[in-house]
């Protein structure tokens, strides 16, 4: 079943990892895709080829989520090329593995800027036309680290918790324009942050995870496709945790 037929989607941080999978699955569900990437042009080209093979219409942009002007230009161009955006996925994010003692101000700022401020800036650039049209869905990428007490770097946890707060407030504020705002909070994913954990921490996660495995990008992307689809029209402000039961 195509959940997103005819939808126009912008996915930030789309070239690698979960972002890439979101682009591919959303395209399979019938959406036109715009994706942004920060540095990895090689990965972006590879994804473009894959999207072409799927027969999807797409546009890609090298644009940091912290580049306000660039983001505005990107959104303008995207809406000219593909049409008005129905769905925004604030996926771009970074993590660092640092204990408090080594976590300096610049590290803190970098993570908070990308994960929180970047979400705010992109949302602001996209939401104006959604408000005009009284329609749209914004999906923010949270993390289990933002909703549960787990051992993870404080700036990462703080940024992902902030995304939850941002989601709830934004949902309230935009609901009267019929714009839904949701947050997907995955646990550890294959090839994601999870592979960059010390082995014993991964083991620990698997031990506490009821399903006993890390999640796949595909199943998270499929869940996201449903969440942002019209079938799910009455859910807003929710943070959906997909962690296999930690």
């Amino acid at each position: 079943m195509k959940l997103l037929a005819g939808k126009r989607v912008l996915i930030t941080g789309g070239s690698r990892g979960l972002g890439r999978e979101l682009c591919l699955r959303f395209a399979e569900h019938g959406a036109s895709i715009g994706f942004s990437y920060n540095r990895n042009a090689g990965a972006a080209r590879k994804l473009e080829n894959e999207l072409t093979q799927l027969g999807a219409s797409f546009r890609s942009y090298q644009c940091s989520v912290l580049d306000t002007d660039g983001t505005q230009k990107m959104v303008k161009d995207l809406e000219e090329q593909l049409g008005p955006l129905d769905i925004l996925v604030n996926n771009a994010g970074i993590s660092q593995n640092l204990p408090l003692a080594l976590l300096e101000e610049e590290d803190f700022d970098r993570v908070m800027d990308t994960n929180v401020k970047g979400t705010y800036l992109t949302t602001r650039a996209v939401v104006r036309s959604m408000m005009r049209r009284k329609s749209g869905v914004i999906l923010n990428m949270g993390s289990l680290a933002g909703v549960r007490m787990i051992e993870a770097p404080i700036h990462y946890c703080a940024s992902k918790a902030a995304v939850v707060g941002l989601t709830e407030a934004l949902a309230k504020e935009l609901a009267r324009h019929q714009i839904r705002v949701l947050c997907m909070a995955p646990g550890l994913l294959e090839d994601g942050v999870g592979r960059n954990l010390p082995e014993h921490r991964l083991k620990d996660y698997l031990h506490h995870c009821a399903l006993g495995r890390v999640g796949t990008f595909r199943e998270i992307a499929e869940a996201c496709a449903f969440l942002v689809s019209d079938l799910n029209g009455y859910m807003t402000g929710a943070t959906v945790i997909a962690d296999g039961g930690v």
């Binding site: 995955p186 449903f226 079938l231 799910n232 009455y234 859910m235 807003t236 929710a238 997909a242």
Partner: protein
Amino acid sequence: MKRALVIGGSGQLGQVLCRALHAADARVAFTYFKSETAARALQSELGCDALQLDLRELSAIGPALLGLAEGLGGVDCLIHAATVSSTLNPPTFDRLEDATVDGFQELMAINVGSAFFACQALARALGETRGNIVLLGSVDGIKPVPSPPPYAVSKAALKGLALSLCKALGPSGVCVNVVAPGVLERGASHTLPEGLRAEYLKHCGLKRVGSLEEAANLVCWLGLHNTYITGQTLMVDGGL
């Protein structure tokens, strides 16, 4: 073809659910109790199995469901949608002082006990298909809102059931979740006083009640497609 077993399929939400599952190419079987006419109509509409089952008789639930599952040739998804909202007859929006002992026990048996023993009976069959369990909760069991206390207690209990069962059944690949709707156009909310309905609409972000389909779609997706969300209670409340 996935096989879905719905407990409480003849109610307003139950019917929508069965249709949504059917539309998603699932083979459906359901139980009903009072609404025999509606059940028969749905049965012939979908061409599916239906079984009359008194959910107050907790010891009868297991054998009956195993029989129904056998008729389906296995089960990929168990949905518990049977619910009563009041301890009184005729049903009201119960106040604390109104609740009766018999009514409370009956409500708990139908809303919680039958869900529990349905999960118990079908755990193994669901493990064989790495299937899904979806329970119908309510905003009343999650958020502080004015609600009939027995009903809120029973819906909160389902959250506990999902939290515990996700751990117990996770190793066999079974996911257990609760969908907790806010006020929907029909269904369990029929006893909601007008004043509270207005209050709800005032606080609900989307400024409208939900449709039965909107709740059913999520239940249906969780039942048929979900593979990594488990132990969760998903709110469908328009942003309350």
